[in-house]
């Protein structure tokens, strides 16, 4: 199998592979850090298992430390003892880690597979998704969902603006207890064009405007913290609206049979992907893994197990049915054309720069 890959891969990658093939018999243990739960499970089935089949000398340990990945990376780098080999993290954290020099800079075309039609990786990945040190894997989005039975049949909510309209759409709303997404939606609902949202938020008046809009629904909000809580609140009938990650909502609706619908208007789109800690011990194996796990087919495969969109344009056509449910996953992807009509692409630069300030203000606002 390794040889097959070498034939199809770019030359630079091929030489790396040859390197790793030379050491193929030495047992290697890779510690791969990810988010745990259903997400890690989808990576295990789409990436780890097929790759380990080709590389029987490698054992993978899954560490679900992604939520605190930056803390771990920094501590390991300061200690000069890097025990993580590959880390799944958000691009904003990746940007900070990259600034600090504790993760490797990535030459995407040199180490990643080209698309089947030969398009180099840097052009195949979705625009804006590649980072200096960041290899995107999936597109996920934060979406608004609602219970259809909470509203009359002829008055179902359709837009983010309806979330802020308690007159016509009464009921409690479950929002995440952090500023991200909430501030964007407040401005969007207040009439700001999705492309201008972050320009407005960079001004003090824009922030005031977002909070003023949030004030209008404040008495109707329940805050959630963990990703699992949002669908739970909807399922229990606690709330009429809930924000949540599209993958979680998909599971709750399609797998658990929850009575809810997703509003794709104003979905806040973000990437998630890999970074490689600097000074890792098993760089050859990591590069071999990355080349394999981020190719067009593998990214498409992950969508069989969880409803997050592949970060490569060339993968979209290959997204098939859910492995266990047999549902066609195409229409459930955030990137499906019928869903991607008014996306707000999360601006990581904004959140890295203003995150602390916004969090303080949001924490203060929640407790007022």
């Amino acid at each position: 199998m390794a040889f097959k890959l070498k034939l199809t891969g770019a030359t630079a990658a091929a030489s790396l592979l040859a390197l790793s093939a030379a050491q193929a018999n030495e047992p290697v243990t890779l510690t791969i850090v990810s988010w745990g739960g259903a997400y890690t499970a989808s990576q295990v089935r789409a990436y780890h298992e097929p790759w380990m089949e080709m590389n029987p000398h490698v054992t993978i340990i899954n560490d679900d430390g992604s939520a605190n990945a930056l803390a771990g990376l920094r501590a390991q780098a300061q200690a000069g003892n890097v025990t993580w080999d590959l880390v799944d993290m958000l691009p904003s954290d990746a940007q900070l880690a990259c600034d600090e020099g504790i993760i490797m800079q990535i030459d995407h075309d040199a180490i990643l597979a080209a698309a089947p039609d030969g398009t180099p990786a840097s052009e195949d990945f979705l625009p804006g998704s590649l980072g200096e040190c960041f290899i995107p894997q999936i597109v996920y989005s934060t979406v608004l969902s609602f219970r259809p039975d909470a509203f009359p049949a002829d008055g179902q909510p359709e837009t983010i603006a309806d979330l802020f309209d308690v007159e016509n759409f009464p009921g409690r709303r479950a929002l995440q207890d952090r500023p991200g997404t909430n501030l964007e939606w407040a401005l969007y609902a207040d009439g700001v064009d999705p492309d201008d949202i972050y320009d407005v938020l960079r001004t003090p008046e824009g922030v005031d405007r977002a909070f003023a809009k949030l004030d209008t629904i404040k008495d109707h909000i329940i805050f959630w913290t963990e990703g699992a809580q949002a669908p739970q609140l909807l399922a229990d009938g606690e709330v009429a609206f809930a924000t949540g990650y599209n993958g979680r909502m998909f599971d709750a609706i399609e797998v658990e049979g929850m009575n809810a619908e997703i509003i794709w208007d104003g979905q806040v789109v973000e990437w998630d992907g890999w970074v490689v800690p600097a000074d890792g011990r098993n760089l050859d194996a990591v590069m071999d893994y990355l080349y394999f796990a981020t190719d067009t087919q593998r990214l498409a495969d992950q969508a069989k197990f969880i409803s997050y969109g592949p970060a490569r344009a060339s993968s979209a056509a290959l997204v098939g049915d859910h492995a266990d449910l047999g549902i066609d996953m195409g229409p459930h992807m955030p990137t499906a054309p019928e869903n991607y009509f008014a996306p707000i692409v999360l601006d990581n630069d904004f959140w890295v720069d203003y995150g602390d300030e916004m969090r303080e203000r949001f924490a203060n606002w929640m407790l007022q």
Binding site: G65, A75, A79, A228
Partner: protein, 283 residues
């Protein structure tokens, strides 16, 4: 204290009200633990008693959550880890703590108050602060994310309990016994193992059990300095509660209560033995 025959109506009302209040508080203390146990046998993935359960019909009950738990690699690994780390930390804490308690209980010990306060401090300092400090320091020593790191941290947390229980046993300790042994020609080590040790043993063992349960129950330090390979039972429970609370947690919890009961009984027996040995009648 039974109600005396001459009690007035007011006394009677007060007597019974007071007892009702007390039993209500005892109920408050026990109820969470007692409610959890039957629910861990629920055949349904709910946290409420189903009607089948209330009617005591066998189909309302099942062992599926126990099977879930026993069949899961990560839970099994966490049990192994909890015991390994707990036992290693207990041995270290008991050895260091007993030696220190012997020194501290001597009247000649210099700076006794200060040293005592320092050695007890791991029990007082908020865990989040200990955990933060250890996270940085252990990372520098390359022992974060290792068994050694967790064991050392848990040792530090466990020693105050050993010191407290052993010093408590030594309060009633008759030092003329060791002097007698010494004057009869026993070497210090013979004196220790033949005279001192048997007398303070109950204190040492209950200190060890405290140290063990401290490690066994500890989660904050584990959250900060343990890696994926060192995940303990509380760490697994933490993920379970935060991500998706299923009755498997209750099955684990029920088994943990069982362990607590065993430890509690052991401690109580030891306490009685110690009091008997020291010539104090229990109570």
């Amino acid at each position: 204290m039974p109600l005396p025959a001459y009690a007035t109506t007011k006394d009677r009302i007060w007597y019974y009200t007071f007892r009702v209040i007390c039993y209500a508080i005892f109920f408050f203390l026990m109820a969470p633990i007692l409610v959890m146990i039957p629910l861990s046998f629920n055949a349904q993935p709910f946290f409420t008693f189903t009607s089948e359960m209330l009617m005591l019909r066998p189909e309302g009950y099942s062992l599926r959550w126990y099977q879930d738990f026993l069949g899961s690699d990560s839970w099994m690994r966490s049990i192994r880890n909890s015991f390994m780390i707990g036992i290693a930390a207990t041995i270290l804490a008991t050895t260091l703590g007993t030696l220190a308690a012997l020194g501290l209980s001597r009247s000649e010990m210099p700076f006794k108050g200060l040293v005592m306060a320092l050695l007890i401090s791991p029990m007082i300092v908020p865990l989040i602060i200990s955990a933060a400090g250890m996270f940085f320091f252990f990372s520098q020593l390359n022992i974060a994310q290792s068994y050694l790191g967790v064991v050392l941290a848990h040792t530090a947390l466990g020693t105050p309990f050993v010191i407290i229980t052993v010093t408590a046993t030594l309060v009633g300790f008759d030092h003329s016994l060791t002097r007698a042994a010494a004057s009869l020609g026993a070497s210090p080590s013979t004196t220790f193992f033949r005279i001192t040790m048997p007398l303070i043993l109950p204190g040492v063992i209950s200190g060890a059990l405290f140290a063990f349960i401290t490690s066994f129950d500890e989660i904050v330090i584990v959250l900060f300095i343990a890696g994926p390979e060192q995940r303990t039972i509380p760490r697994e429970m933490w993920s379970g509660i935060r991500e998706d609370i299923s009755p498997t947690i209750l099955a684990v919890a029920t088994l943990m209560v069982l362990i607590s009961v065993l430890l509690l009984v052991t401690i109580e027996l030891l306490r009685r033995r110690s009091e008997r040995l020291r010539g104090l009648t229990p109570g």
